[in-house]
């Protein structure tokens, strides 16, 4: 009878990522073959194709690459931010900037990651990094 090795029995990368978030840990992947970071989580490196991806804690700091205010009726919850953030590790993710007025969110702003509760589970959001509140 076949036995599963540790790798086969481990949860997939997507489930692992959200499990980490639920445990209060924001982890991304780094490739053991080419040493580059990968986001979103995959089962092979998007740069070199290697399956040797390790979970690592990013510094949590990044820079706003682009940003938009989505206009929504007040009765539906009002306007909200959608941003793309470049982590200092060199990967980009979609997120939301909080803790600052919507019209003060700008490209180039330094931000810091935080795990927040979302409607369907934990999500990573960003606040202005210390010294970049305006």
């Amino acid at each position: 009878m076949a036995t599963m090795n540790a790798e086969q029995s481990a949860p997939g990368a997507q489930r692992a990522y959200f499990t980490h978030l639920a445990e209060g840990r924001f982890l991304i992947q780094r490739c053991g073959a080419c040493d580059r970071h990968v986001f979103y989580p995959r089962v092979l490196c998007v740069h070199c194709g290697s399956p040797r991806l390790d979970w690592v804690a990013p510094a949590g700091t990044g820079t706003v690459y682009s940003t938009s205010i989505v206009r929504r009726k007040a009765e539906d919850g009002g306007d909200y931010n959608v941003a793309l953030v470049d982590l200092d590790e060199g990967v980009r993710m979609m997120s939301r900037i909080e803790g600052v007025a919507l019209d003060r969110i700008a490209i180039g702003m330094r931000v810091r990651a935080r795990i927040a509760a979302g409607d369907e589970g934990p999500v990573v959001v960003f606040d202005p990094a210390r010294g970049d509140e305006r």
Partner: protein, 390 residues
């Protein structure tokens, strides 16, 4: 063999449209079939001579089968590749290969949608799509599909190159000026830059007037080998080049939001056709949003990277300008039933036939068609020419 060996080997010999604007109680399959019937008749062929099919749907998983059944076809070649709105431009190359190899003799490319008048609730479609095709790293942040993704690209272009909302508005105004010359266009009222700037903001910096229409519509075109095209009633539009490039799906995975894969698809299409941007007489670019036109003018070599905003603000792409762009009025003002790629192809063919009436571009011999899909994700460029360009 190289793609250049197929230069001019195939021509578009028939085009048809139906149900554009509002389809008034007809289904998407009914208007697709009507457009297909018109395209086949325009080609001087009959439906039983169609032995190749290319089609795509944004809601049906086995759309090609449904179209075969509805039209009563027995195709020897079927391509139902779905890469978003560019699909119907990208369908050219596989069809050319099938025609050139003798796998089939006449390919029908067709699309139809009744997204404007269909009774199915668009919010329900959005919910279903999130279930069937989740994007767990974007969905929680609620970007408007697909508008916010294009807004993020526009914001980045503005930041990096000083592009302004006024310059984006000039794209919408130029499209409207063309639409006013096209009796088939859906929106033909006058539109000014001030109107665009004052229109409802949806996802900064894009307003409702920076965004394509939501219309019904169906379009179809027919391709045959060049030797047969010469014997058919319409002046053929020869396919001189076609190339498709895809670098990402989600906007968060796009390497540089100011450079699209059109830079690659354009380069390969030019190479196949043996022409460059300076040779092109008329452009039909997929303008889902005003930023698209700017990005594609740059990526396809009509102005340097970052300069398209300044290029369009003088009226260069409007009627009477130096570069005729989106002569039917575009997705912004003519027609946009969910996916628009088939309609830019049809407009290019009509321009090359000299059949565009008031909006006809004088001496149009070489047309560039550029399709976009997803969130600036799939890019397909085609270069079509009259027999003088062979």
């Amino acid at each position: 063999m190289s793609p250049a060996d197929l230069r001019g080997a195939v021509a578009i010999v028939g085009v048809g449209q139906a149900g554009c604007g509002e389809a008034r109680g007809r289904t998407e399959m009914e208007i697709l079939a009507e457009a297909s019937r018109l395209a086949v008749a325009d080609a001087g062929l009959t439906m039983d001579q169609i032995d190749g099919l290319a089609t795509a749907s944004s809601s049906s998983a086995m759309w090609g089968l449904s179209v075969v059944e509805y039209l009563g076809l027995r195709p020897r070649f079927v391509d139902s590749t779905m890469i978003g709105g560019s699909s119907f431009v990208a369908h050219m190359m596989p069809a050319m290969l099938a025609l050139a190899s003798g796998q089939c003799d006449a390919v029908l490319v067709c699309y139809g949608s009744t997204q404007r008048t269909a009774t199915i609730n668009r919010a329900a479609i959005k919910r279903a799509r999130r279930q069937l095709e989740p994007h767990p790293y974007e969905d929680p942040y609620e970007p408007l599909p697909p508008l916010t993704s294009y807004a993020l690209a526009a914001a980045r272009h503005m930041h990096q190159y000083g592009t302004t909302r006024e310059q984006l508005a000039h794209v919408a105004v130029a499209a409207r000026q063309w639409a006013r010359l096209n009796p088939e266009a859906f929106m033909r009222d006058p539109l000014t830059v001030a109107d665009v700037l004052a229109s409802r903001m949806v996802s900064d910096p894009l307003t409702v007037r920076d965004s394509c229409l939501v219309t019904d519509g169906a379009g179809a075109y027919v391709m045959v080998r060049a030797d047969r095209a010469r014997d058919l009633p319409r002046e053929p539009a020869y396919v001189l080049g076609n190339a498709t490039a895809i670098w990402h799906k989600q906007i968060s995975a796009m390497p540089d939001l100011t450079v699209t894969a059109a830079a690659e698809s354009g380069r390969r299409a030019y190479e196949m056709a043996g022409v460059g941007p300076a040779d092109i007489d008329v452009l039909e670019l997929y303008d889902a949003f005003t930023i698209n036109t700017l990005l594609f003018l740059e990526d396809l070599g009509f102005c340097p990277k970052g300069e398209a905003g300044r290029f369009v603000e003088g009226g260069a792409i409007a009627p009477g300008g130096s570069l005729p762009v989106n002569t039917n009025g575009g997705g912004l003002s003519c027609v946009h039933p969910g996916m628009y790629g088939v309609f830019i192809t049809i407009e290019a063919v009509r321009q090359l036939r000299g059949a565009c009436g008031e909006r006809q571009v004088d001496g149009a011999h070489l047309a560039l068609v550029h399709g976009n899909g997803g969130t600036l994700s799939s890019q397909s460029t085609a270069i079509l020419g009259t027999r003088e360009t062979l």
